[in-house]
């Protein structure tokens, strides 16, 4: 709540840049024409018609018609031009903002995505951006119109009959004063409604996402009760808002009635005293009606301020630091010929050290494995190689060059990664494998799938490679998902392969087939395997045993089995 107050005010028009001029000309032009050439002219027309009717003055009638029709014609001719001008400027700007926000989001570091709820980021990119469009196309436009019509009508009233005008202005000021006060409260409540609404949505997602677990542990009631609690809170806030809304409506009508009856009665009284004519009264009656739009100013300004919160949220996203990568021209070579080399790496997510002076090397064509207790930092090492996080200290070298000699893109092109929890996109099997290498042909996709031992089960699916796999691969078994992820990585064809528990959900037959593939890949590529099942890593050239963020043992399977190493103990427990 506090930082809400301290939030910077972002200028939504700042996004416009060179579209600003056409926008502002267009929006002013359109609303000036609408206010003056349509609404105000109608009042003038009424004045003349009534006076003509009372005075039996035919030429006045004709003059009135000519003025009315000609200004209407002007409006019809010019208004579309202005409308086009500002609409185009606004749409162009919106496109620019959307692209900018999206592109920026793709540049954000992994830590951002781990920190923020995905629903939140998505709503910034969709709902909040839409709010900006509302500012351009609705709110600013309304404000312009209100100002032109309100101020123009007031001025004309004073010209026609200052006493009546003065009365109207006094009542109007009172009403605007009240309206602004109510609007302020309204804004607060609307803010709260919005917050409760997004809370309710979050709870709804909890219902949808944890479906199975929720059912087994029979916490349906708890989860739904959580939802209902939020939903009831939401209703409470909405009730408050609606009460205020009813009040605003009633107050608006009250002031409007007071003003118009007052004018009517005063006017008639003046006419009876012969100090005014009926035409003027009718015109003023119309003009005060127009002036009444000023009452909405409080409301619209409040809404604008609300929208500013949305602008702020988009701006915050744009202010998020992108992935930083200290690119360095000065080529830093490693002393020896290595494909992967971590040198004295220190890393922590928060303040607890996860890796502490850790060093690992894999020569070209060599394969290495990382083993160790769950939570000791194996996945972290893989993610560091991909440049997901910044090192606290130490160096990483890929293919003999420091990672800082690569751009992030070049770096990631060198590595094919199978994460511990592979994310599959909602789409076909083929598309998911293709994401490894976008220009790959169907043959290449099939051959990658064969290498990942996935081809057979894919062919058993209803539509083969074109089978839709559902949200996050829901229609596949655990091992099937893993094999698609492996196929995707193989399809990338990079010189380094990172496998993080890539076969943990596979049976030994499938695993062995993949093992053969990996063995084959090991000949030409450098492979880093993270695995708990030690039987799967016996063939690698070097095994690193990690504990407490450090390498505690290192060597081939045979070497490590010779002495009383931690590894040999681990190995024996597993095979017992």
């Amino acid at each position: 709540m506090l930082n809400r107050r301290n939030r910077n005010i972002y200028n939504p028009l700042g996004f416009m840049e060179k579209n600003f001029l056409p926008y502002i000309i267009g929006i002013i032009g359109e609303n000036a024409i609408q206010a003056f050439c349509v609404n105000i002219v109608l009042a003038v027309l009424m004045k003349d018609i009534f006076n003509a009717a009372v005075e039996f003055n035919r030429s006045l009638l004709i003059r009135a018609v000519i003025i009315a029709l000609s200004s209407l014609m002007i409006a019809l001719a010019l208004k579309p031009i202005f409308t086009y001008m500002y609409s185009k400027a606004a749409k162009k700007t919106m496109k620019k903002i959307r692209l900018k926000a999206y592109n920026h989001m793709t540049e954000l570091p992994v830590s951002y995505f781990e920190r923020e709820h995905s629903g939140d980021t998505m709503s910034r990119l969709t709902n909040d951006i839409k709010v900006i469009e509302d500012i351009y196309n609705v709110q600013i436009k309304r404000i312009c119109f209100i100002l032109f019509l309100g101020v123009g009508s007031t001025a004309l009233m004073f010209i026609y009959e200052w006493k009546l005008a003065l009365f109207a202005v006094i009542v109007e000021i009172l009403s605007v004063f009240i309206s602004v006060r109510i609007a302020k409260r309204m804004r607060k409540i609307s803010d709260r409604v919005q917050i409760k609404k997004s809370k309710t949505n979050e709870k709804f997602l909890d219902v949808v996402v944890g479906f199975k677990t929720t059912k087994i542990f029979q916490i349906e009631d708890e989860i739904v009760d959580d939802y209902k609690e939020q939903s009831d809170n939401l209703t409470k806030q909405i009730k408050k808002r609606d009460n205020l809304n009813a009040l605003i409506n009633a107050a608006g009508l009250f002031f409007y009635s007071a003003k118009s009856t007052g004018i009517l009665i005063l006017g008639i009284y003046m006419i009876m005293k012969n100090s005014a004519d009926i035409g003027t009264l009718v015109a003023i009656f119309n003009l005060q009606n127009n002036m009444g739009v000023l009452f909405n100013l409080g409301d619209i300004l409040g809404k604008l301020q609300n929208s500013m919160a949305g602008v702020g949220r988009v701006a915050n996203l744009l202010d998020e630091k992108t992935e930083s990568h200290k690119f360095d021209d000065l080529v830093k070579k490693t002393p020896n010929d290595s494909m992967i080399k971590l040198k004295d790496v220190v890393f922590s997510y928060d303040d607890k050290k996860v890796l502490d002076n850790l060093s690992i090397t894999a020569k070209k064509g060599e394969s290495i494995a990382l083993v160790g207790k769950s939570g000791c930092g194996k996945s972290t090492i893989a993610k560091l190689l991909l440049g997901f996080y910044e090192l606290k200290d130490g160096d990483i070298f890929i293919d003999n060059k420091s990672v800082y000699n690569y751009s992030l893109e070049e770096l990631r092109n060198k590595l094919a990664y199978v994460p511990q929890n592979p994310y599959l996109f909602d789409g076909t099997i083929k598309d998911n494998i293709r994401y490894g290498h976008l220009n790959s042909t169907d043959e290449e996709i099939i051959s990658s799938a064969k290498m990942a031992n996935a081809h057979d089960f894919i062919m058993e699916q209803e539509n083969g490679y074109d089978t839709l796999i559902g949200e996050e691969g829901a229609k596949l078994s655990g091992g099937q998902k893993q094999r698609i992820a492996i196929a995707r990585a193989i399809n990338k064809g990079s010189s380094i392969l990172l496998l993080d528990e890539a076969t943990s959900a596979l049976d030994s037959e499938a695993e062995e087939k993949i093992q053969q593939t990996i063995d084959r890949l090991m000949k030409s590529n450098t492979v880093l395997i993270i695995a708990h099942r030690l039987a799967t890593i016996k063939n690698v050239d070097k095994i690193y045993v990690i504990d407490d963020g450090k390498v505690v043992e290192c060597g081939s399977h045979e070497q490590l089995m010779l002495n009383e190493s931690l590894y040999s103990k681990l190995y024996k427990t597993q095979c017992s």
């Binding site: 349509v38 109608l42 209407l72 409006a75 019809l76 579309p80 086009y84 162009k92 496109k95 959307r98 692209l99 999206y102 793709t106 992994v110 995505f113 781990e114 709820h117 995905s118 980021t121 309710t200 709804f204 909890d206 219902v207 949808v208 996402v209 944890g210 199975k212 542990f217 349906e220 989860i223 209703t235 009730k239 609606d242 009460n243 009813a246 409506n249 009856t261 008639i268 009876m272 009926i278 769950s374 991909l386 997901f388 990631r412 994460p419 996109f425 909602d426 976008l438 596949l476 078994s477 528990e501 959900a505 596979l506 049976d507 037959e509 062995e512 708990h532 681990l570 190995y571 095979c575």
Partner: protein, 590 residues
């Protein structure tokens, strides 16, 4: 099948107990009609004073009449708004809560038909559309009534002017409606394009690891750009159309007023009506034109809300998991915890996943499921929980046929560790505590100790009160798994289903968990799926699933003796194992 028009009606039934609010609103709307039509009449009286000599007294009565009317109008509008708001709020709240708890009660296969984003949009956007309609529902009475009253009063004032007004306004409205029509055909295209852009965003956010490591940034950016470009082009097309219609609309909304004023003026000029009557007539023009435009909007809102209601009803019409059946009978004395009798199953009624499965899990014993990936192991566990309906055969839990008993009481007997871990975005303690209602901190810690999670949990920044992020991304794979094991242990149900519970764990943790579980499962019936043979070889019976059938069965020693697929798979895992005597050790139920 519900007819299209009825969709809203069924939604309205959620407001049944609040109908008094609706009636109140209708009552005040009727009052409002009366007040609003009397105001021009009072105005006429006041204006006509001008032409009366010495009309002071009459002036005063008219003024009082007017003031009373206006005050009544103010009160009316307040209560009209308030009562319809109450009606809407409560109805919508009921709808929202019912929809959510209905979704929660759906059987798996109905639920899985929808993307979570789709369900979320139904609970959001669609409910908003219905809200909009409900707040306007009394207008369906108010607007036609005020129109009729205005016509009658107009007839009394001057029938010629009324005729001209109705013709001019009617023509304008029809033309206007015609002019604005073609736009709606763009909106569905627009909606589709927005949908495409949004799913791109979702993929980018949720799959950010993949986007980064596979350098998909550029491609996705290009895709997004092309989607934005076509959105822009579509929208500009709409803008251009709208320019044309806007011009027509401006004309149609102003021109009739000019005509009516002129004609009215000339009628007054000719002495056919008084100034006061003319004034009153001008006041009722709004009631002649506005209701028509309003009704057009109402009808289009109605259509939108109806579509929304249809989408919501689609969900509400799915049958929920049956709960009305017999309660689970606990005193059925049987030694068989779970029994499958000739069970066949298919997810989509096309490809069979399981055929003719027969097995028994005796009380306090362990049965292990092994086999190739995709063989149907997880499916069997899902079936025990009653997530899907089987096509053939019987599944019995403690002698109760599961499709004949209340699923809640069934699931009270079962605890499960699923293959995909699910972490709720809340504290560690709460994540584990979900296993058992009102569990104490001691019980939670105890469960965490059995699952070997206690040690790492206390090392987290806030210990048991550390808040886990969405899908537990601030934990390692094995840590997440241990939290879900702790949750299952806390539940302490007689049947325990384990789907690869330790696949992401190192040997040490696994061994510790296995040992702790051994004690824990002494009086539990366990069905365990595992690829690691060390986990399963001490099971009382091992079932090997292949292609949805039980290909081999027996205990480890029996299976390893003969030339089985099991032996083949087993030996593969220990192909190069030097030490055969290491193949001994712990089990769950030894």
């Amino acid at each position: 099948m519900n007819k299209r028009g009825n969709q809203i009606i069924s939604i309205l039934s959620f407001g049944k107990s609040y109908k008094m609010w609706l009636f109140t609103c209708i009552l005040f709307s009727l009052l409002d009609v009366a007040v609003n039509i009397l105001i021009p009449y009072a105005g006429k009286k006041i204006v006509d004073i001008i032409s009366i000599e010495n009309g002071n007294e009459e002036f005063l009565t008219s003024v009082w009449f007017m003031v009373t009317l206006l005050l009544m109008g103010t009160i009316n509008i307040f209560f009209r708004k308030l009562s319809i708001s109450r009606f809407t709020e409560y109805t919508i709240r009921n709808l929202r809560n019912n929809l959510t708890s209905h979704i929660q009660k759906l059987p798996f296969n109905s639920f899985k038909k929808h993307h979570s984003g789709d369900l979320a949009s139904r609970s959001n956007t669609d409910i908003d559309l219905i809200t909009t309609l409900l707040t306007q529902i009394s207008d369906f009475i108010y607007e036609p009534l005020i129109f009729i009253c205005a016509v009658i009063y107009g007839l009394i004032l001057n029938w010629k002017l009324l005729l001209v007004t109705v013709i001019v306004l009617g023509l304008a409205t029809v033309l206007n409606n015609f002019a604005t029509k073609p736009i709606s055909k763009f909106s569905s295209k627009l909606q589709k394009e927005f949908g495409r852009a949004n799913s791109l965003i979702q993929d980018t956010v949720k799959g950010n690891y993949i986007v980064k490591s596979f350098n998909l940034k550029k491609v996705l950016q290009n895709n997004y750009q092309s989607s934005q470009t076509s959105l822009y082009n579509l929208e500009m097309q709409i803008v251009k159309r709208r320019l044309f219609t806007l011009t027509i609309t401006t004309f149609l909304l102003t021109f009739p007023l000019v005509v009516i004023n002129l004609y009215g003026g000339s009628l007054t000029f000719a002495g056919e009506m008084t100034i006061g009557e003319f004034t009153a007539f001008i006041a009722i023009i709004a009631y002649l034109g506005h209701p028509v435009i309003r009704l057009i909007t109402l009808v289009s809102n109605m259509k939108a809300a109806n579509g929304a209601a249809e989408r919501i009803n689609e969900i509400l019409n799915y049958k929920i998991e049956e709960t009305s059946k017999d309660k689970y009978i606990t005193n059925k004395e049987t030694d068989i915890a779970v029994a499958f009798e000739n069970v066949s199953f298919s997810y989509d009624d096309k490809t069979t996943v399981l055929t003719d499965i027969n097995f028994k899990l005796p009380k306090n014993k362990t049965v292990a499921l092994v086999g190739v990936s995709g063989g149907g192991k997880s499916t069997i566990l899902n079936l025990v929980c009653g997530f899907y309906n089987i096509t053939n055969g019987k599944i019995k839990v403690f002698g109760n046929e599961i499709n004949k008993i209340d699923l809640k009481t069934l699931r009270a007997q079962i605890s499960m560790v699923t293959q995909d871990t699910h972490i709720y975005p809340t504290t560690v303690a709460k994540n584990i505590g979900y296993g058992k209602k009102n569990s104490t901190r001691e019980e939670i810690i105890n469960a965490a100790k059995i699952s070997n999670a206690h040690e790492f949990i206390v090392n987290l920044s806030d210990g048991y009160d550390t808040i886990l992020t969405e899908s537990g991304s601030n934990l390692s794979g094995g840590q997440k798994q241990r939290i879900t094991i702790a949750r299952a242990i806390l539940k302490d149900a007689p049947i325990l289903l384990l789907d690869e519970p330790t696949s992401a764990l190192d040997n040490n943790s696994e061994k510790l968990i296995d040992e702790a579980l051994k004690k824990f499962t002494k009086n539990k019936s366990v069905l365990v799926v595992a690829h690691r043979f060390s986990t399963i070889k001490n099971a009382d019976e091992i079932l090997l699933l292949n292609n949805g059938q039980i290909a081999e069965r027996g205990n480890h020693d029996e299976l390893i003796e003969s030339d089985t697929l099991y032996r083949k798979l087993y030996l593969k895992q220990y192909k190069e194992s030097e030490n055969n005597n290491l193949f001994e050790g712990m089990s769950y139920n030894a």
